[in-house]
């Protein structure tokens, strides 16, 4: 058998509740919990409707190897996630994982800067835990469109992991919670105030492109977690391509989902 091969696991739903406007919090029990690295994802199969055949690829917020539990957050955007939101505690299905290449620690010395947009927060929280465990200080920015969509509990977790020295800024596009404006504005300020060795970002493509540009202007290395429609999640179909600066394409599911922002053709 291939050493780092993706495999299939059973999972049982332990919790599945609304976390914010259009966003749900899913807790599953599955053997995959012991195998996940921060920034990796899994492809969940939602049972019941044979007319929608693809799985739901989701990154995770945290995993507990002892309890064999994984916490995920997802936005209800289509038929698949709508049906996922209807799964109840005790229901079981299968998932494929652990998938892809996750976050890596900063190469250089110094603080890290985390930037999350909307439903990009869960993988950023996984990065925060990775950094905290490695004793690397970080500041963080969490943006949402509006107050109803702010994942307050998760931002509190982020603050806890950032510690006393870490700054965590919440902002909304419409100013209904935290600062008014895009994450890139807050990011610009932090970059002027503090030095960073590495930035970590996950969010809408346009946001990540902006974050990548800013980081690059300040000479800060930047990792981005990309999202794509996926057929399989493990490199079988080549459908989730990401255009590269060097030309050609990488596959989001196996070469990513985390990429060095400088390699991505935005």
């Amino acid at each position: 058998m291939h050493s780092d091969a993706v495999t299939q696991h059973e999972f049982v739903v332990r919790g599945n509740e609304r976390a914010a406007e259009g966003i749900w919090r899913l807790v599953i029990e599955s053997p995959v919990a012991g195998q996940l690295a921060p920034g990796q994802f899994m492809n969940l199969r939602v049972p019941g409707d044979g007319s929608h055949i693809l799985g739901i690829p989701l990154s995770f917020k945290g995993a507990n190897a002892q309890a064999q539990t994984v916490e995920l957050l997802y936005a209800v955007v289509g038929e698949g996630t709508r049906r996922l939101s209807q799964m109840v505690a005790g229901q079981s299905s299968t998932l494929v994982g652990p998938c892809g290449r996750g976050w890596w620690l900063p190469e250089g010395e110094g603080r890290a800067l985390l930037v999350a947009g909307g439903i990009g927060l869960p993988p950023v929280l996984a990065a925060a835990r990775m950094l905290a465990d490695a004793g690397i200080g970080f500041d963080a920015i969490a943006g949402s469109r509006t107050a109803d969509m702010v994942l307050s509990d998760d931002i509190e977790d982020l603050a806890r992991l950032a510690g006393a020295d870490g700054r965590v800024i919440t902002c909304t596009d419409d100013g209904t919670a935290g600062r008014r404006g895009f994450v890139t504005e807050a990011m610009g300020e932090l970059l002027r105030e503090r030095a960073y060795a590495q930035a970590y970002a996950c969010g809408p493509n346009v946001m990540m492109a902006g974050v990548a540009r800013l980081a690059d202007e300040h000479g800060v290395a930047c990792q981005v977690s990309m999202e794509r429609m996926m057929g399989c999640g493990f490199g079988a179909c080549s459908c989730c391509n990401v255009a590269l600066v060097a030309g050609g394409y990488a596959l989001c599911c196996t070469d990513g989902p985390v990429f060095d922002a400088r390699e991505v053709a935005w």
């Binding site: 291939h2 993706v6 299939q8 929608h52 055949i53 693809l54 057929g231 080549s238």
Partner: protein, 310 residues
């Protein structure tokens, strides 16, 4: 499971331990499935992703859309590292599959007759592990060549006239979902050892808000359970028109689906899209197929090929 039925079949000289094969482009090059089951010990054959003489980037994103009717659409466009890159990356692994009894079918892609020739020559030189080749003359997702190369009996025969003299190994031709009887006869006449069908059926998915395609290209290939009944009919039409063996492809997700293909005239059956959403399906389908053959009271699954009664 100990079988009471001989499951071995011969796909135009490619001797398979059982009829199960994989549809090119839905199975990576096998290694991606090693975490799900022992590929080399399970499949009758694997058909690798299409490879051209030189690397191809494939099409821009998005390449995939899910359709509400039990199907997906893709426009990957044969992204591949070229024969040399393919052999470097996967040659050892694929030789290992062969050593363990799983036949390896390498798929040849090209934009022109000359590119088919170059790719075949390179494969002949660099791929001793190949049990045989599948010539893809039906990719709906590349600008020049692709489906156009297999659009008419004449064009299809032309590709065979270039590839056939270059290899003594079995040559399977991957056919498009149209005129399969007529084109199948032309391919048999021009030396094909076997035929595989169907490739994806061209379709369109439009974002009604933006008025643009949901994929980067205007049209893309539809696959999945939605097209199974159409594929079975085309396999039957083709099997009634040719004497060479056929590999049935199209929405196979169960042993029953595979059995339909065999009854319609398929010697081998490829699992495609189901590998993506149900990556452990192949071993299950194999067990189901074997149980069905047992239940039909035959001692050899070859007795069931084309056994459809009408």
């Amino acid at each position: 499971m100990v079988s009471t039925v001989s499951m071995a079949v011969d796909l135009g000289g490619i001797r398979m331990r059982n009829p199960l094969n994989t549809a090119s482009g839905t199975y990576g090059n096998g290694v991606q499935f090693e975490g799900f089951y022992d590929v080399g010990a399970t499949l009758g054959a694997i058909t690798c992703k299409g490879v051209a003489a030189v690397p191809w980037d494939g099409n821009p994103a998005p390449r995939l859309a899910e359709l509400p009717g039990s199907a997906i659409m893709n426009s990957v466009g044969l992204q591949n590292p070229g024969v040399r890159g393919f052999v470097e990356r996967y040659g050892d692994y694929l030789q290992g599959l062969r050593d363990r009894g799983c036949q390896v079918i390498c798929q040849i892609a090209g934009h022109s007759l000359d590119e088919y020739r170059q790719a075949t020559e390179l494969f002949e030189e660099l791929a001793p592990f190949a049990s045989g080749f599948e010539v893809n003359i039906s990719c709906p997702n590349i600008a020049q060549g692709g489906a156009a190369m297999g659009a008419t009996p004449e064009a299809a025969a032309q590709v065979m006239s270039v590839v056939r003299p270059l290899t003594a190994r079995p040559v399977v031709v991957k056919m498009a979902p149209h005129d399969v009887a007529e084109i199948g006869r032309a391919l048999e006449a021009s030396g094909a050892d076997a035929l595989s069908l169907i490739n994806t059926i061209p379709g369109m998915a439009i974002d009604i808000r933006t008025r643009r395609s949901r994929l980067a290209r205007a049209t893309a290939g539809v696959s999945g359970p939605a097209i199974h009944a159409i594929a079975v009919r085309m396999v039957w039409e083709c099997a009634n028109a040719v004497t060479i063996p056929i590999c049935g492809i199209g929405g196979v997700a169960s042993g029953a689906d595979a059995a339909e293909m065999i009854l319609a005239g398929a010697t081998a059956v490829s699992v495609g899209t189901a590998n993506l959403y149900d990556p452990t399906c192949v071993p299950r389908i194999l067990v189901e197929l074997e149980e069905w053959a047992c239940g039909q009271g035959v001692s050899d699954i070859n007795e069931l090929i084309g056994a459809f009664e009408c």
